[in-house]
Amino acid sequence: MNEAQTAATAEQPTIADFARTFRRIQAEIHKVIIGHEQAVEELLSALFAGGHVLIEGVPGTGKTTLVKTLGLALNLSFNRIQFTVDLMPADITGTRVILSGADGRREFSFQPGPIFCHILLGDEINRATPKTQSALLEAMAELQVTVSGTTYPLAPPYFVMATLNPIEMEGTYPLPEAQLDRFLFKVRLGYPGEEELVRIISSTTGPAEAGVEPVFEPAEAAQRIEALKRLVREVIVAPPIEQYAARMVRATQPANSRVLGDMHAPIQVDAVNRYVSFGASPRGALALILGAKVRAMLDGRANIAYDDIDRVAPAALDHRIMLNYAAQSDNVDAARIVEQVVKAVRATRA
């Protein structure tokens, strides 16, 4: 492939290109990550939809490895921040330090923090204080960092993956709702099955390590990924599908007059009214549509279908639903609520 052809492909990829690239990245990741097919697909979907991912899983399930492998496969710059309780925002964003020049002159100069990269892994993000966690907000939402009154843009593509450890809650700080809402998907990594575990053992304890081959050349990686992301945005959404997504998000909102005023959702789900304090925000609807667009392209379609919305609903809505004490006492999790919401809304299809 000559340079001109490469440029053309980068500028105007087709749906087939997208699906092919996606599957190739997936395959590279699965050289290292055994199992977790759905998690990997959701991770990549979030990447191409232009969102960020919150990965939740018990220790040892390959969260960090997954993110590192993704960075290697995409051939993009990759940084990792281990969040601890004493981590400061400046440790993430960077700070101005006094540097001496060649002429001996000293001046303040901005030293970028680890946030300046394409792929950022915030490991155990809930161990840092909310102040430090919120240092990521601007970067995630606006792809820029402001330090000492100066705004520094981040180079696209910018992809944040934060991991959460759900079992060691001592000394942790639950993520603020505003920050949770900025993650497009929440991906759950469970324990692997027996067969998968055997494969993990044999592939990681041997002398040879699985090598991940980058899918993109370093020079064109960012450009091509951005082109694919633009293509995703072009996927056609029919008005009934948009209404369906909106209906689904509304159905997650309980009949709470304090929040909703008189605009109660037409679809009332019992479990929502009983266990949910606050439902999904409009960002939830965007997440549904964007995730569905990626799924449609993977299926070789230029349009999204109802099933695409249903499929991405758990990952897109799970972390956006705030449960109340009744849910905790009844041991009801958000996944079950979303399941019932999807079931109720599915019945209203045209």
């Binding site: 749906i15 072009e234 056609i236 029919a238 379609r301 349009n303 109802y306």
Partner: protein
């Protein structure tokens, strides 16, 4: 061809493909709507035909009030069913978007048709629009209307056929039932002209309103005048007592009866009339209305039969039906001189047996009498002396008749035509008549010589 023309022709081809996709969606919609229309028509017809068939069946089977209840229930059920089916048909009706969604679902097109239809009229289209149209067009065989909805006939045809079958079975059954009723003689219908009653012993009681007037009364003018007085008096007393629900019930019964007759084609005039010769044993004294009989539950009857009748009378019929029945069911009153009336009553021949049952009953009666084979043996209840007609009633007796009266039940209607099955049977009014000169107190018929005209007939019956 110039590059510009290529673009135009390509654009036109895209439009043609889009048109074809939309045309197929339209075809799917037409099929779905045609089926919805069929469903509505067939199910509505099925409900109507079924309800009409069952109404006919009820008309042939039940009494008036039950029939009315069943008919109302059927009518309400049919209306409810039609409303429901109309709603179902409306829900089945497909708009363009719904037809596209159904086609998407049934052909695994995954929203392509819905999207194409929704955005076909949008001027600003996505760069992927051409891809979508091409992709959808390429799968056009999958959403052929005949594949999306292969049926041409709605399944609602089956209930329609079933209801037609039901109606086809019901109508002959109703006719058969009606014919059987015509053939069967009215229960207890006595031979016309043989009933004689004294007006003083005549109890005027409420008739079953379901029954049509079917009696002819012959009497001299004086007796008839007394009868009219009696009727008027009974009507007055009833007017004071009968109101409200029972009146309404009677109206309903009348209506149901008329409707039932209309449905079954039954004619009340077909029935054999009961002929009653009314006499006045005490012509000089005006006949006092028998209050006990007119309102038997309130005052004791003078003849003792009133109480029994009152006990057996139907609650629904005891009140307002009395004057109504007396007025509506007023028998054809013929004013004749006493002598002429007697002659008519005596000469009016009994109608021939209208069916095998009646003939059989006559034979049975004769055989009962003849079975004893020994006239005047026993307590006098056996009048027969074998099959010899001359001795059938035994020799004419000169034994003086007592002054006691006996009761004759005039059953104006067959008892199986009671208002409703299972309800207390209608007890016909009883009249108390004095015994004639040839009658014994405990014998319904006085011994007499067999009429010469009937000799051969009786002989033939007993020889068979």
């Amino acid at each position: 061809m110039a590059p510009g023309w290529d673009h135009v022709s390509e654009s036109r081809r895209d439009e043609q493909k889009l048109w074809l996709i939309l045309f197929k969606i339209k075809g799917v919609r037409s099929r779905l709507n045609f089926l919805a229309l069929q469903h509505w028509l067939c199910s509505t017809m099925a409900l109507l035909i079924g309800a009409v068939g069952l109404t006919f069946l009820a008309a042939a089977t039940f009494g008036p009030l039950t029939f009315l209840g069943v008919a109302i229930f059927l009518m309400l059920a049919a209306i409810a069913g039609i409303v429901r089916e109309t709603r179902v048909a409306r829900a089945m009706r497909a708009s363009g978007a719904r037809a596209a969604a159904i086609a998407d679902e049934r052909s695994q097109m995954k929203g392509r048709l819905t999207t194409v239809l929704a955005l076909a009229g949008t001027p600003k289209r996505s760069p992927l629009w051409a891809y979508l149209v091409e992709d959808t067009y390429g799968r056009r065989d999958d959403y052929e209307p005949s594949r999306i909805e292969p049926r041409w006939m709605s399944r609602a045809v089956l209930p329609l056929l079933a209801s037609i079958l039901l109606a086809a079975l019901t109508l002959p059954f109703a006719r058969f039932s009606q014919a059987r009723r015509r053939i069967a003689p009215p229960t207890g219908a006595g031979a016309p002209g043989q009933i004689t009653a004294d007006i003083r012993n005549l109890d005027i009681r409420p008739a079953d309103p379901a029954l049509q007037p079917n009696a002819e009364i012959y009497a001299d003018p004086e007796t008839l005048r007394k009868l009219e007085d009696k009727l008027a008096s009974a009507e007055n007393s009833d007017r004071n007592s009968g109101r409200g629900l029972s009146k309404l019930l009677n109206k309903a019964r009348d209506f149901a009866d008329a409707f039932q007759d209309k449905l079954t084609g039954r004619n009340s005039n077909d029935r054999q009339p009961t002929r009653l010769r009314l006499t006045d044993s005490n012509p000089g004294q005006s006949a006092k209305p028998n209050r006990g009989a007119a309102n038997p539950g309130k005052s004791p009857s003078t003849n003792g039969g009133g109480n029994g009748l009152a006990d057996n009378s139907q609650p629904g019929a005891s009140g307002p039906a009395q004057p109504g029945a007396a007025q509506k069911s007023q028998p054809p009153i013929t004013s004749l001189p006493a002598q002429q009336a007697d002659e008519l009553a005596a000469n009016n021949p009994a109608p021939p047996a209208s069916g095998p049952d009646q003939a059989q009953r006559g034979a049975d009666r004769s055989s009962d009498a003849g079975g004893a084979g020994n006239a005047n043996v026993g307590n006098g209840s056996n009048h027969g002396s074998g099959s010899e007609p001359a001795n059938l009633f035994g020799p004419e007796s000169a034994q003086p008749l007592g002054s006691d009266s006996f009761k004759i039940a005039i059953e104006a209607e067959p008892s199986d035509e009671a208002s409703s099955p299972g309800s207390p049977a209608y007890v016909p009014p009883k009249v108390r008549v004095p015994l004639n000169s040839n009658q014994y107190p405990d014998q319904p018929l006085a011994r007499a010589s067999v009429p010469a005209d009937d000799e051969n007939t009786i002989k033939r019956v007993f020889e068979r």
